[in-house]
């Protein structure tokens, strides 16, 4: 078999490889035209600023792999942030206990999504559209929109603002989360099940894969990760408020899709997501360091997304003419 040559060509054309080249090009471009962009300090800053979005994107990847979506992650981040503040300030809990309770709440809220999606078999888009409003609404209702939690101890703020061993403290959380999700998706039977469910839920059910439990798992995990992101967010800003993380869900989804994960499920990878987050983060930071209008970052992200999609479709269209299904089929909307 001469799969070697074939394999190399295939690898070079892989979405992740192309995205990596784009990322490096971005980096070099901004390093040239921007001021002090390619410095170690700025690299650390990018890590700090995009840690929460990165975490949400990591958690979003297995969800999209199963063919689902979670619009509620950022709202949950807001809810968890103010609950963390409440636990610490109003309930007088020590920070670690408050964090543990917050993560518990995150898991419960993820569990609500999970229950509705896997038990009642409701479309994830709609369920999480509902909880998107619900969680943010609860956060506002609890604080009346006004209450802000501040004056956290420095030992806690360290997590969001300082470096440890020369690396931003929250990067360690992110690295651990990345390793966890990479192993989960690429090296365990869970990841295998997610893909199978994403490709064909019925087929997975007939193969004896516990559909409900696996689907529930990804949403609960997303809840937990949202809570962790909320704690890091609070530590980074030094305050918790009901509007924390507004709009992060779109960032996270964009990053995941940019990273090559198919919105229909089945196809995708954690390293792709990582590259997707990096591409967006570098773009935003680079635009700022090149003193270009900030709106360009959003516009270029949109453009990049369309190009990435078109790029991933084109080789398929060409080989699709060869393969069995000839005409490019209308993309189905997510279930």
């Amino acid at each position: 078999m001469n799969t070697d040559k074939h394999g190399l060509k295939k690898n070079l054309l892989r979405h992740e490889t192309i995205l990596f080249v784009v990322l490096v090009a971005e980096w070099l471009f901004f390093d040239v035209i921007g001021h002090n962009f390619g410095t170690y300090d700025n690299t650390c800053d990018i890590l700090r600023h995009y840690c929460e979005i990165g975490l949400l994107a990591l958690a979003m990847t297995p969800i999209i792999l199963t063919g689902g979506i979670d619009l509620s992650v950022a709202s949950l981040l807001g809810l968890c942030a103010i609950l963390f503040g409440k636990f610490w300030r109003d309930a007088g809990m020590p920070i670690p206990l408050a964090a543990a309770c917050t993560i518990g709440v995150g898991a419960l809220a993820g569990g609500l999504n999970a229950t509705l999606i896997s038990w009642l078999r409701l479309p994830p888009l709609i369920v999480t559209l509902g909880t998107y409003s619900l969680f943010r609404g609860l956060a506002e209702a609890i604080t009346h929109g006004v209450d802000t939690f501040t004056d956290f101890p420095n030992s806690f703020l360290f997590l969001g603002q300082e470096r440890w061993l020369g690396i931003p403290a929250q990067a360690f959380v992110f690295i651990i989360a990345t390793i966890f999700f990479w192993l989960l998706v690429h090296r365990t039977t869970f990841g295998r099940s997610f893909r199978a469910i994403g490709f064909s839920p019925e087929g997975a059910h007939y193969a004896g894969i516990p559909l409900g439990r696996r689907v529930a798992m990804v949403y609960v995990l997303a809840g937990v990760v949202s809570a962790i992101a909320a704690i890091i967010y609070t530590a980074r800003l030094g305050q918790a408020k009901a509007d924390a993380g507004t709009g992060y869900e779109l960032f996270a989804i964009t990053a995941v899709v940019l990273g090559g994960t198919s919105i229909f499920g089945g196809v995708g990878s954690i390293h792709g997501t990582l590259l997707g987050v990096a591409a967006i983060a570098v773009l935003h930071s680079g635009i700022a360091h090149a003193v270009l209008p900030g709106e360009m970052a959003g516009m270029l992200t949109g453009l990049l997304l369309i190009l990435a999609l078109a790029g991933s479709i084109l080789p398929k269209m060409i080989s699709g003419l060869r393969a069995r299904k000839s005409a490019p089929r209308l993309a189905k909307q997510i279930p």
Binding site: M1, T3, H186, R187, T188, T189, F190, G191, R192, S193, R195, A196, F199, S200, E202, G203, A204, H205, Y206, A207, G208, I209, P210, G266, V267, S319, L321, R322, A323, R324, S326
Partner: protein
């Protein structure tokens, strides 16, 4: 006789694979032209070219003497070509009347929909083929054969001059099949040309005027049906002699492995089923489509859990609420619809094969790629799966090989009971015989096999005992050496022989 369709030297390739290598084919008005060939011989591609779903790479198509360039489904529809696909191409969310209307009415987007005449027309067409289906029923609520009937009604009503039928009887009952044949003969009498595709050779001889055999993308023979016979056709299709004789039973049935007592499931329409399956035995489960055979299998496997009665596995009472419980206890189910349920088409062969044995092959949930590959290679060899490797995606395989992959997945679980649902439906003759041998070998090794099949010769040839279902329950259990009409008689609920 008028020439309706003439294909000359049509070629079509998909990448490196040349699906059609210069096929010529013609269809006259008022004839039934049967199209035969193993899976992958190019029948489906040929049909899709005629219906405009695919564009040919080369060659010409003439329809009633006029050359058709750039055929699309819309143009083909206008030219009077109708096709009944194997998998009904209906809209599940719409009603029967709407489905028929969409096919029949002009494709002019601005035309008004006349709901009354649409319902009446649907009603008439359904009556004509003897289908007892309400025009207001949503298609998603219909069973597979009912959908097939709606599909036939569509083609019938379209007033098409060329009707293509791709395995129309695959899921029809005997009675419905006979009605369909009557309709086909009617159509032929009104000088419609019919292209008829079926794996059931006896149907070909009942209906067809001419037969064309395809092999490897080439047309190997066209001859009047009267001048040929089954053996000759099979020889042409496979290019070699294949014995239609089923592998002989060798084993002596052992202890009772699976025992059902008054099993029932309201959701699945299964009631009061009592049945024993022994080790080393193939129990054939016969019956008409809709008799509850697949539903019974799904109940045993836990997809639609039983709400009454008991299941015993080796004398021990069990309750299956989900497939994973059934798998854990050693029950395996090779489903009927392999493209939807049997194989995940986008995933590689190896991953498909190990899907049901995650716990065993990947202890501690960690994937072990070496072990997986070894396991897959083992099954690829054992079952002679033709794929370019364990990493080949499921959709790159032919139907028969997909079925083998599905089978391998369940054999890998080392089951005590194996339920096979239509194991050879839509599988070509060569692969069919191989699958039969595999099933026989498994039984010989002591597996209890419950085999559902609508293919009567298969049931008769393979089974040690035959259970016949009717109306969701077991109507009778017959010895393996029964005769076809006995089984049919029970299945149809008649005292006299059923045909």
């Amino acid at each position: 006789m008028k020439q309706l369709l003439q294909l000359s030297a049509v070629t079509k390739s998909f990448g490196a694979v040349q699906a059609l290598k210069g096929i010529s084919f013609d269809l006259q008005a008022g004839e039934v032209h049967a199209l035969l060939g193993e899976n992958g011989a190019g029948k489906s591609t040929l049909i899709k070219i005629i219906t405009g779903a695919h564009q040919p790479d080369g060659g010409t198509i003439e329809i009633t003497g006029v050359r058709a360039e750039k055929l699309s489904p819309a143009i083909a529809h206008k030219l009077g070509i109708a096709c009944i696909y194997q998998q009904p191409a209906l809209f599940p969310d719409l009603t029967v009347a709407e489905n028929i209307g969409l096919r029949l009415e002009s494709a002019n987007s601005l035309s008004r929909v006349d709901w009354n005449s649409r319902r009446n027309q649907a009603q008439k067409l359904l009556q004509r083929i003897g289908a007892d289906i309400s025009p207001d029923a949503e298609v998603r609520s219909l069973s597979m054969p009912e959908q097939q009937l709606v599909e036939i009604a569509c083609a019938l009503g379209a007033g098409a001059r060329i009707v293509i039928m791709d395995e129309p009887t695959a899921s029809l009952t005997q009675k419905e099949t006979q009605l369909l044949f009557a309709v086909v003969r009617d159509l032929r009498a009104s000088s419609v040309g019919i292209i008829y595709i079926s794996h059931r050779l006896e149907e070909i001889f009942q209906l067809a005027d001419r037969v064309t055999v395809l092999r490897d993308g080439e047309s190997v023979a066209t001859c009047p049906a009267k001048e040929t016979n089954e053996t000759a056709l099979i020889k042409l299709m496979v290019g070699r002699e294949i014995s239609q004789i089923f592998p002989p039973a060798e084993s002596a049935p052992g202890e009772i492995v699976l025992s059902l007592k008054n099993l029932g499931c309201t959701a699945g329409g299964v009631k009061n089923v009592s049945l024993d399956v022994r080790a080393g035995e193939i129990l054939g489960l016969a019956g008409l489509v809709g008799a509850g055979r697949t539903e019974l299998a799904r109940t045993i496997f836990g997809i639609t859990p039983a709400d009454i009665g008991e299941i015993f596995l080796r004398g021990e009472r069990i309750e299956n609420h989900s497939p994973q419980e059934a798998v854990a206890r050693g029950i395996a189910y090779v489903p009927e619809d392999r493209r939807r349920h049997g194989v995940i088409l986008e995933m590689p062969v190896a991953q498909n094969m190990t899907m049901a044995i995650h716990r065993r092959i990947f202890p501690g949930t960690w994937l072990r790629f070496g072990a997986e590959r070894a396991c897959a290679l083992d099954f690829i060899r054992q079952l002679d799966v033709r794929a370019y490797g364990p990493e080949a995606p499921g959709h790159s395989l032919s139907g028969g090989n997909q079925q083998k992959v599905s089978l391998a997945r369940w054999l890998a679980t080392e089951p005590k009971v194996l339920i096979l649902d239509e194991p050879t439906q839509g599988v070509d003759v060569g692969a069919k015989s191989e699958i039969h041998k595999i099933i026989r070998r498994l039984a010989k090794d002591g597996l209890a096999v419950l085999m559902i099949s609508s293919d009567l010769p298969e049931i008769l040839g393979m089974s040690d005992r035959i259970a016949v279902m009717r109306g969701g329950t077991i109507a009778a259990t017959l010895p393996g050496k029964s005769v076809a009409h006995e089984v049919m008689a029970v299945a149809l609920g008649q005292k006299r022989s059923g045909g």
